[in-house]
Amino acid sequence: MVVLAASIISKSGKVLVSRQFVDMTRIRIEGLLAAFPKLVGTGKQHTYVETENVRYVYQPIEALYLLLVTNKQSNILEDLETLRLLSKLVPEYSYSLDEEGIGKTAFELIFAFDEVICLGHKENVTVAQVKQYCEMESHEEKLHKLVLQSKINETKDVMKRKASEIEKSKIDKNRGDKGGFMSMGSGRIESSFSDVSISSSGSGFGSGSAFGLTTEVDSFSTKPKGRQPSSATAPPKGLGMQLGKTQKTNQFLASLKAEGELIVEDVQPKAGQSRVAAPPPTDPITLTAEEKLNVTLKRDGGISNFDVQGTLSLQILNQEDGLIQVQIENGSNPGILFKTHPNMNKELFSNENILGLKDPNRPFPTGPAGDAAGVGLLKWRMQSADESMVPLSINCWPSVSGNETYVSIEYEASSMFDLRNVVISVPLPALREAPNIRQIDGEWRYDSRNSTLEWSILLIDNSNRSGSLEFVVPPADSSAFFPISVRFSATSIYSDLKVVNVIPLRGGAPPKFAQRTNLITENYQVV
């Protein structure tokens, strides 16, 4: 299924144009094309020639041959289709179908051939499409140019305004020096005002159009996003084949089997989803308390934002366990505000710290094992400006010496948490090779595409509450190393929320339950 080359040669054997689509040497292609006129016979009613190694599929066009060189395994039906398309294209680009005409339009023909065949594979295009592709008339380019032009105009206007302002201020200054004539000045201001209003309306037009256009562009660019789910969510069905199959193919398969062919009926992809999320809960009742950290630290110390959002979710495997209440114990952290789900009995919670539904006869919704989310029971939020609350603080010191920049980074973790899977990503200026790491506690990795240095520490506990990294890069502005972003997780949380007990409403022994706590970073940056 590979077209080696598409060529036009004259009946006398002169190669006028040839475009190769796979790697082949010049001598080879010239040899193949030179042999062709000798191989093509006259008076035959078919238009292909096979040699030991290649197949030529051709079509005479007046005094020329349009020719495809393919390998012998190539699909003749497809090749003929391609040839037909090319033969329609040639007259479109070359007005006279003789050596001279082809020679004049050789490049245009090559461009057209390129659109039809890609790396030897046929493209599904029509003559009109090829013409469109070759004309390269782009709506977007026009828009781009318009935007560019309007920006230029705008800038020019701004420049003019600024110039007039400067002039005005100069004059004003002169006025002021001289003592000033208000009436004259007001007249001046008026005129300059009208000037400004004109120019602003001009720029308003410019920016207005630009705005309209950009929104249009935006709406274009959102399209692919909208498209994604439609195909992504199509559920894979293993049995579709079975349904569509007629009796006949069943027989066919049966007879194939009888003859000893191995037929696998239900084919499942063997490599499953490699991404394994948190192991599904095995206990009948699981309570998960999770806190998300949104922290922005300033590069020279101080907090610009510190925000913790927590949720307590309940997951019940079996419906019969649904009628329960949950007794919790919240730590004595005064900065935390709890909010219950609207369906919860608020009084019960505020008085007794018990979470239960308003209607005691309704069970909690149950979910399947795979659904990790569960039902949210309780939410809380904590904000603080206290630096001591920050679990991990980062110090970054870029310093230029000679034609190199030394960057040393250190972290300090508060003793509140043991942090796991800490990754500190430092953006770097565009580099050709990985930075030179002088010293490091932990491991590093250089992501050349995003041009970031990732410093990872598996676990920060009492043994390494602080650590440092030092590396050397070519000279760069110190702001190039920010914002540093940090990811980690921990198993203890700010609110010492604990589930004390699960009370079955129907009586009986309290059912078994599991409790999980989890602290993760959502957005943790040093800017």
């Binding site: 292609i29 040899g31 292909y48 030991e52 490049f107 599904n124 293993g238 398969l253």
Partner: protein
């Protein structure tokens, strides 16, 4: 590794563009002039100029251009320039283009982006590509399918580069993601192709996940799916069970290309009868539904392959295949018949013959121009059916005999030869055939058919009534005697006696014809052309066919008539009790013979009778006057015996050929053995699966080089200069199909550095140098390998001349060392081939170039000489070995070969042993082109001496 060539454009050398002009135009602001200059620059580059100074101009003035055409031409330019230095490192200035490429990749015009991405597919230099990768990846998510399509291909090509996996670590991941969301069929195909080539397991995984939707996919994607299935099953045979279902579902695809591919895949995957049957069925359907002749022919090729590997299944399909005869194209019909003839079994023979008969009848009604040829093909087909299964002969022979009088001589000859064979092999049919033949004899128009029919009459009329009606038929066809009126004879005989000398000249001017056994026979050239005899000779009665033929001067036929009559009379003597009747018949026969002789010696015909025919007729007359037992035995029995012998010889040869064929298909010693009882031959046999497709592609692009044994290589080293020359050179010549590669080793034998050393080559004959020579500098006593490619465009002996030119540092003038000539042997281009006798004859008559070489040899034995010629010319002897047997002192044989360019070379060897034991005679070479005739003649002249 040689550089690959991506485009060729015809360059007219008449208008040389000067680099400076191009430069000026490029620097200007005029866009059309710029475009023109770019085109010229590209053409110059393609033509071998390097134009290094132009690069910077282009970087400065062309890169910033906004014009789309200029940008596209720029990409072409970048595609063909040398981007690396001699050591394969990227030239430093190439970094200059990176920025431009990156801008193009982010260009608002989607087509500029697309073509730039496409250009990246053809780029091999990692250093240039690396900084562009982020931009390429961005384009994967562009909203325009044109860009996505090309971006995917660019990712694929980059990933396939030697360091590609490091450049794009997660390319398969990304493409997989793209594939899952992609809607554009072409982009989807490209994405799947990328996974297929770069991460096969992901591709299979995707395929298996979407197994139920394969049939809804686009045609392009389905094709790649099939390719993938083939590849997977080739490497991992256990997996194929999973895929057969997919193929079966695709067999119902709307696109014929997919169906065709499916059938091919099915065959390569399984040899289970059901699978093969399904594939064959599909092919047959395509054969009928597609109107394109090319498709039909190629599908027939596929069926032919199936036939040789799975004959038992194809036998059932025979009637479906036969339906292809409905196409009016002769090539298709011929191929169809070829396939069908090998599939005939006792079970289907009657059906097939019925069909063939119907077709024969159809040719009679229609007035298509090729009908005659087609009928001939059908008759030959029926003929071979009848030989294989004699029982059908009776059903067809009578139908065929209607065609004895066909205006198409070739088909009539086929019929009569067929009848001759049947009458011998099927004695039961003899009586009916003879009766029929005698009835239809008067319809026969062609002389050659007549003579063959006469022979049959002479040999197979056995009973009294048959013999008598035979004689009567001949007499009737000859018409009233004499052949011309007596009144004119008086004057005529005088003139004829005066001009025998002049006549003998005209005799020799007749074209000699080669008989089936390879000997020359003198045959009147006029015999087959329509010739209306003068009215005076016509006689009074409406003449029979024999008469009109005789009157055109065909005395060879006359001799045949005489012999037939003699045979019939001799037989009549045996079966007729009444002596009177015999004598009466004898005198009548004698009268006919005498009239023929008279006609031959009269002046009413342009040519008098030739000596051979005259002798023969006279011999017949003598015989009839003076019969004896010895003579009778020769005439009545020996003829038949030698005919029987010829038939059995023919059969023997055929069976031997079959045996030879069967031998070839026997298993090789290292083949895998399939144990019948464990698992029958239904698995894929490894042989047919060996990376067929890959090899095919490699062979097609010329990458596939068969490793010749090295000893052989060393034999072909040519010394080009002497050992005492300052530069020693030797060459190793490799002859490929269409090109010759000279591998020249140049050694500097001096203590000085040679500068600007250049190997200049010139050629004679149909050879062309591909590249311009380059200059090298050669250090003292160092050596250098220089490669030169020479293109060959026809079969003929070529000569390559050459010099080595160099300068030394102290002497400024150039020194020239002349090289030995290199002769390219024609033998490398021709290979033995086979063609039928008839084809050989027509070609012999058609071809214009003849080279006649007189035999001059020390070899004493005819046979040995022939073998020597065959061996030294690398041709195939068409004459059967049995015809060359025996010690008769003379020998004639036809040799045939074909060149790689499809030209035919015909050789006829006719030699006679002289009394002194020497061989004399001629070797004639005929071909369509002068080159072959000349070079082959030279070759033979050179080699025929023999002895050594």
């Amino acid at each position: 590794m040689e550089k690959s060539c991506t485009l060729l454009i015809h360059f007219d050398k008449g208008t040389p563009a000067i680099a400076n002009e191009i430069k000026e135009a490029l620097e200007g602001n005029d866009v059309p002039a710029k475009i023109d200059a770019m085109k010229k620059a590209i053409m110059l580059l393609l033509n071998g100029e390097t134009l290094p100074q132009l690069f910077i101009t282009i970087v400065r003035y062309v890169l910033p251009s906004e014009d789309h055409t200029v940008q596209k031409l720029l990409l072409l330019y970048l595609e063909i320039i040398e981007k690396t230095d001699a050591r394969g490192r990227v030239l430093p200035e190439m970094i200059l283009i990176c920025q431009n490429l990156r801008n193009n990749l982010q260009h608002p015009n989607e087509y500029i982006r697309g073509v730039t991405l496409r250009f990246l597919c053809r780029l091999n230099e990692t250093e240039i590509i690396e900084p562009l990768i982020p931009s390429v990846l961005q384009n994967l998510e562009h909203r325009h399918p044109f860009i996505r399509r090309n971006a995917i291909l660019a990712v694929m090509s980059i990933y396939k580069l030697p360091q590609g996996e490091q450049l794009l670590v997660d390319a398969p991941d990304m493409i997989e993601k793209v594939l899952s969301t992609e809607q554009d069929p072409s982009a989807k195909r490209n994405a799947f192709l990328m996974l297929f080539t770069c991460a096969q397991d992901r591709a299979t995984n995707y395929l298996l996940t979407h197994v139920d939707r394969v049939s809804e996919w686009g045609e392009l994607l389905q094709m790649v799916v099939l390719e993938l299935i083939r590849k997977v099953c080739r490497t991992n045979r256990g997996e194929k069970g999973k895929y057969i279902k997919i193929i079966i579902s695709l067999l119902n695809a709307p696109s014929t290309a997919v169906i065709y591919e499916c059938a091919g895949t099915l065959v390569s995957l399984s040899s289970a009868p059901t699978a093969i049957r399904a594939a064959a069925n599909t092919y047959c359907q395509l054969l009928l539904s597609q109107s394109d002749n090319n498709v039909k022919l190629i599908v027939l090729d596929r069926l032919n392959e199936l036939k040789s590997s799975h004959r038992d299944i194809m036998v059932d399909m025979i009637m479906d295949v036969l339906r292809a005869l409905s196409s009016p194209n002769l090539d298709i019909r011929r191929k169809t018949l070829d396939i069908v003839l090998e599939l005939i079994t006792p079970r289907n023979i009657s059906e097939v013959v019925l069909m063939l008969k119907k077709e024969v009848v159809k040719t009679q009604s229609g007035e298509l121009e090729k009908n005659g040829e087609y009928r001939q093909m059908l008759i030959q087909a029926i003929h071979s059916c009848a030989i294989k299964f004699p029982e059908v002969a009776s059903t067809v022979v009578h139908l065929l005999m209607d065609f004895l009088g066909d205006s198409n001589v070739a088909s009539a000859i086929d019929v009569v030869v067929f009848v001759r064979e049947i009458i011998e092999t099927n004695p039961k049919l003899r009586v009916s055939i003879i009766t029929r033949l005698l009835d239809t004899f008067y319809q026969i128009r062609a002389a050659r058919v007549c003579s063959c029919a006469l022979w049959i009459i002479g040999e197979y009329c056995l009973s009294l009534s048959e013999v008598e009606s035979g004689i009567a038929t001949i007499k009737q066809c000859l018409g009233e005697l004499p052949f011309y009126s007596v009144s004119e004879e008086g004057e005529a005989t005088d003139t004829s006696k005066k001009t025998p000398q002049a006549n003998s000249i005209t005799v020799s001017s007749r074209r000699p014809a080669i008989l089936a056994d390879g000997t020359y026979a003198t045959q009147s050239a006029a015999s087959e052309t329509a010739f209306s005899p003068p009215a005076i000779v016509q006689g009074s009665l409406a003449s029979g066919n024999l008469r009109s033929l005789l009157l055109t001067g065909d005395f060879f036929l006359g001799a045949v008539v005489a012999c037939t009559l003699t045979k019939l009379i001799l037989r009549l003597e045996e079966v007729q009790p009444s002596k009177v009747e015999v004598n009466k018949a004898t005198t009548q026969a004698l009268l006919i013979m005498v009239s023929m002789l008279q006609l031959g010696q009269s002046s009413v015909l342009p040519h008098p009778i030739d000596n051979d025919s005259y002798d023969r007729i006279v011999l017949c007359m003598r015989l009839l006057c003076n019969t004896g037992d010895e003579i009778r035995k020769i005439w009545l029995q020996s003829c038949r015996q030698s005919f029987v012998k010829m038939l059995s010889e023919k059969q023997l040869r055929e069976t031997e050929e079959l045996k030879a064929k069967a031998q070839v298909s026997h298993a090789q010693p290292d083949d895998l053995i399939d144990f019948y009882h464990l698992k029958s031959r239904k698995g894929m046999s490894q042989l047919e699966l060996e990376d067929e497709v890959q090899d095919d592609l490699k062979r097609a692009t010329g990458e596939f080089v068969k490793d010749a044994d090295d000893a052989n290589k060393l034999n072909r080293i040519l010394q080009l200069t002497g050992f005492s020359d300052p530069v020693y050179a030797e060459a190793y010549v490799t002859v490929h199909h269409y090109d010759i590669v000279l591998d020249v080793t140049v050694i500097n034998r001096t203590k000085e550095t040679l500068q600007n050393l250049c190997l200049e080559l010139a050629t004679m004959g149909d050879l062309k140098l591909v590249e311009r020579p380059q200059n090298y500098t050669l250090a003292p006593e160092s050596s250098k390998q220089i490669k030169a490619n020479i293109k060959v465009s026809s079969t003929e002996t070529g000569v390559i001349f050459g010099n080595i030119v160099y300068e030394t540092s102290n002497v400024l003038e150039r020194t020239v060392v002349v090289l030995n000539d290199i002769h390219i042997d024609i033998m490398d281009y021709i290979s033995p081939a086979v063609c039928t006798d008839a084809a050989f004859r027509t070609m012999w008559a058609e071809f214009e170039w003849e080279n006649k070489v007189a035999v001059n040899t020390v070899i004493q034995d005819e046979k040995e000489f022939l073998d020597h010629i065959i061996k030294s010319t690398n041709m195939k002897c068409l004459t059967a070995p049995s015809a060359l047997d025996g010690e008769c002192g003379f020998l004639a044989a036809n040799l045939y070969a074909k060149s790689v360019f499809g030209e035919d070379a015909l050789v006829n060897v006719s030699i006679e042993k002289q009394a002194d034991g020497k061989l004399s005679g001629y070797i004639r070479i005929r071909s369509k082109t002068q080159g072959i005739a000349l070079s082959l003649g030279d070759k033979i002249t050179l080699k025929q001496k023999g002895g050594s």
